[in-house]
Subunit: 212 residues, 2 copies
DNA sequence: TAGATTGTTAATCGATTAACAATC
DNA sequence: TAGATTGTTAATCGATTAACAATC
């Protein structure tokens, strides 16, 4: 694999989409695909698709195209999907529980090992066989259990405190669903899912569509 | 307001973030802010911030900066947040319920008017005083109740069918949480929240961080 | 008025698209 | 071999940054 250090974020964010589409092609027993066909499926230009893949070395074969299965595998490797990730969820309201179920049922390779909350009504209940622990236990838990990804599903106000504890506890990445701009040290990867930003973008385009 | 027709998606997607930060400044009773200070808070360059705002006309005042409250309001107007949106949720598993609660508690102006599911165990239960209806009723419901936004929280396989019914039922926008690439007609705005794409991007950067 | 900071033009940078030689 | 399609370079386009005149 080439040196990834200068591959743009724009390229990386397209990879999961390619992979998702390739997965569906695999399910339909499609063996090969050209950049032109992929263009029709993704909406990206064929040229861009070839550029994207060539960032990581040649995955295709001239005159033939790309082997669906091998391309799917390669993209999975690039994204780091050939290994397991231990995850914990902090904040076990509806959203936390939804993420837990999502990871449990759909995402092979992503393992929820513990869940935490401050609410006495929630502490102790089991979600997919995992008992929700008191948030007080978080620091101790992280000392004894190396965790790859911490998932923040708390309110806005608690998010930074949770993030600080996760960082201190040496998680490698944080998946943040709280509507807050949290700060983490440089060696921790932060991925935000800001639902309200997404919704506000939707309303912008709804009104813009109305006008035109 | 200027003609918005050629404002890039990149700019639009920064607006909710600006607004969120301004909201926090408002809560702290900050009255004015310069593009330089906003730069420190957002990570965008001051130059970019001024460019962004100037797409919509001058919000600032030379020698002074921007009035926090007025800028907050202006961005809200641009995003269409000065009106109400009627929304329905299709698919009332954990995620659907989480979104319902989220909209109910946090998002003034976004009103869930109905919820639908196919699961007999879920049909009939109440979520925030809204009784989950049989998915069979969706088409009829949309004929009698104009809806702005349809929210898809179903499985991948049902997503396109739901989208088709929503489009036929004249929703203006679709907020899609299903891990599928759905197709909608041009007059309907589609906003995807692909959780797995987000998670796969996170794993990429975790491994990339590891390597460097 | 002097200082500060915007609004806006020009320069730069990066990402996308086009073109085509390489080659399967 | 001929046809197809990639890999890759060059051209274009758009977005970001820099600079500074306008002006509060």
């Amino acid at each position: 694999m080439k040196d990834n250090s200068k591959i743009s974020n724009a390229v990386i964010r397209r990879l999961p989409r390619y992979r998702r589409i390739l997965e569906e092609l695999l399910a339909k027993n499609v063996e090969r695909i050209s950049s032109n066909e992929l263009s029709a499926l993704t909406g990206y230009t064929a040229s861009q698709i070839r550029q994207d893949f060539n960032n990581f070395g040649g995955f295709g074969q001239q005159g033939y195209g790309y082997n669906v299965k091998s391309l799917f595998t390669q993209i999975g490797l690039i994204l780091g999907l050939d290994r397991e990730y231990k995850m914990i969820i902090v904040g076990c309201g509806n959203l936390g529980q939804a993420i837990a179920n999502y990871a449990n049922y759909y995402k092979r390779g992503f393992i929820i090992t513990a869940m935490f909350d401050v609410n006495p009504k929630i502490i102790g209940i089991k979600i997919n066989d995992i008992e929700v622990q008191d948030y007080e236990n978080l620091e101790e838990y992280l000392e004894n259990n190396p965790i790859d990804i911490g998932i923040i599903c708390t309110t806005k106000n608690s998010a930074q405190d949770v993030a600080d504890k996760l960082v201190a506890g040496k998680v490698k990445g944080i998946w943040n669903f709280a509507p807050a701009d949290i700060q983490v040290s440089d060696d921790v990867v932060l991925e935000n899912v800001h639902l309200s930003d997404s919704l506000n973008t939707l309303t912008y385009y709804i009104n813009y569509n109305d006008r035109t």
